[in-house]
Symmetry: C2
Subunit: 267 residues, 2 copies
C-alpha cells in the first residue's frame, strides 16, 4: 500500500502514478471482488468495534475529478456498515451563510465524534482546487491555505482523529468515456450538467492544483493516497484495504463491562 | 398494514396489540427473510430515487423500551442503502447546551433535507416518555408537549416531509430474556448498564406513557405504527413493508435531463 502514499517533504509528481495500475493486487477482477467481500466483512466488524469502544474518531476524505468515482466508492466500500456509526458529509457549492465565515468553518462542524467514522465527499480541499482553478479568490489568499489545512488536520489528529485522504486518480480518457456514458444512457443522463464540460476543459489546471494540494498537505498524521481509479474493482479493493489496515492498527477493544454483572438474574 | 396504525381521535389501548403477533405475513421466518431481501432491494432503489429526485424529505422515528430492537432494526432494514442519502440521528441524554433551549431545538436541527432519509433513534418523544416517568419536569409542562409535537410535525409535513413513526412493541417477558442474554453473553455484557434494571422496574409507567404519547400524537400526516417486535424477523419485515409502501406512494420520478444533451460528443 505504501507506494500509493504521498510522502511529505518529497518532490511529488502526479504523472508518476498510473491510473491504470493494478499491481498491488495479485489476480484479476473476479478475485478482487471476492477479496473485497472479505474486506467488507472485516470493515463491518471494525466499525462496530470503533463504535463500541467510543474512543477513536475516523475521518476519510475523498477527492477526485468529475466522474472519478467518489459516490461509487462510498456505496461499494461502505456497503453494509451500520448507518448508526457512519456518516457521509457532502460539501457542495458553499451557501451565502457559509461563505460569510472562513472556509474551514463548515468543515469543522462535520468532523467525526468519538466512535464515529465520517466520510467527506469533497471537503476543505475544494478551497485550494476549484477555488484556485476558477480564480474565486486571489492567489495570495489560497496560497496560505495549505498551511492552515496542515495545522487544522494536525489539531484534529492530536485530539484523537485518524485521518485518511484518498485522491481517486483517473485519466483524461477515462473521464471522457464515463461522461459520454452518462450522456448516452437515458437513465443516467439526468446526472449530466453542461457545466461538466467547462471543468473538463480545465483538466490540466485541475491536475496541477491537485498535485500541489497533495504535495503540500500529505503528512504523517493525515496522509494522502493516490488511488489508481480507472478500474473500479481495483479502486474499491485498494481503498478498502488501506482502511481496514489502518483501523486494525488502532488495536481497538470492546469496553469492559461494569463490575458485578455476572451474577445478576433479571426478574 | 393498516391494523398496526394508530388511528387518531380514537380510543387507543396498547394492550390490544400482541407483541407476538405475526398475522400480516403469510408464512414463517424463512419465508419472511426471503421477502425481506426483496423489500431491501426495493428500498435501495426507492432511496436512490428519493435522492435523485431531491424533492421529498423522509423522517423515520424509532421508539421502544430498552432492548426493544431499535439498533437492530436500523442495521437490518437499512442494510445496503447508500450512506450518502441516509442519516441516523441518535438522541441521548441531552447536554447542558441542549437543555438550555427548548426540547424541540436539537431535534429540529436534525430533520431531513430534500432528497434525504433520516432515522431518529429516539427523538423528541423522550420528552414525554422518560421525562414524564422520571418526573424530570412537572406534569403541567410535559402535558402541553403533545400539542407542540402535533403542531411541529404538522409544519414539517406541510413543508414536504413524509413522517413515519414506529413503536417497537415487546413484552415484559421478552425484555427479560433479552437483558438476561446481554448479561450471560461475555461479548455483549459491556452493553449492559445497571441503570437498565431501574427502568425495567418502571415498566408499567413507561407503557402508560407510550400509550398516551401514541394516542395523542398519531395523526394522518405523522402516523404511529405499533410494530409487534418479539420476533425480529416479523418486526424487520413489517417496518420494511410499511416503509417501501409509503415510499412507493410518493410516485417519485428521476429528474429530467437538461435539454440538448443527446447530441453531445465529448472531446
Amino acid at each position: 500500500m505504501k507506494k500509493y502514499r504521498v510522502e511529505s517533504g518529497r518532490s511529488f509528481r502526479l504523472e508518476d502514478f498510473d491510473p491504470d495500475d493494478t499491481s498491488a493486487f495479485k489476480g484479476g477482477k473476479q478475485e478482487a471482488l471476492v477479496a473485497l467481500e472479505a474486506l467488507n466483512k472485516k470493515l463491518e466488524r471494525l466499525q462496530e468495534l470503533l463504535f463500541a469502544e467510543g474512543k477513536h474518531k475516523v475521518l476519510v476524505v475523498l477527492q477526485a475529478m468529475d466522474a472519478g468515482g467518489k459516490d461509487g466508492t462510498i456505496r461499494v466500500v461502505f456497503d453494509g456498515v451500520d448507518p448508526s456509526g457512519v456518516r457521509v458529509a457532502s460539501f457542495g457549492v458553499p451557501t451565502e451563510h457559509e461563505l460569510a465565515r472562513d472556509y474551514l468553518w463548515r468543515v469543522h462542524q462535520q468532523v467525526p465524534r468519538k466512535g464515529e467514522l465520517v466520510i467527506f465527499n469533497r471537503s476543505h480541499y475544494e478551497d485550494v482546487l476549484v477555488v484556485r482553478v476558477k480564480n474565486l479568490v486571489p492567489k495570495e489568499v489560497w496560497q496560505k491555505r495549505y498551511h492552515h489545512i496542515r495545522e487544522f488536520e494536525r489539531m484534529l489528529a492530536d485530539e484523537g482523529t485518524t485521518i485518511l485522504k484518498f485522491f481517486l486518480h483517473i485519466s483524461k480518457d477515462e473521464q471522457r468515456e464515463r461522461l459520454q456514458e452518462r450522456l448516452d444512457n437515458p437513465e443516467k443522463r439526468w446526472k449530466f450538467r453542461k457545466g461538466d464540460l467547462d471543468d473538463r476543459k480545465l483538466w490540466d489546471q485541475y491536475q496541477e492544483a491537485f498535485e500541489d494540494a497533495l504535495r503540500e498537505t500529505s503528512t504523517a498524521y493525515a496522509p494522502w493516497y493516490v488511488i489508481p481509479a480507472n478500474k473500479n474493482w481495483y479502486r474499491n479493493w485498494l481503498v478498502s484495504s488501506i482502511l481496514v489496515e489502518t483501523l486494525e492498527s488502532l488495536k481497538m477493544q470492546y469496553p469492559k463491562p461494569e463490575i458485578g454483572l455476572e451474577k445478576i438474574v433479571i426478574e
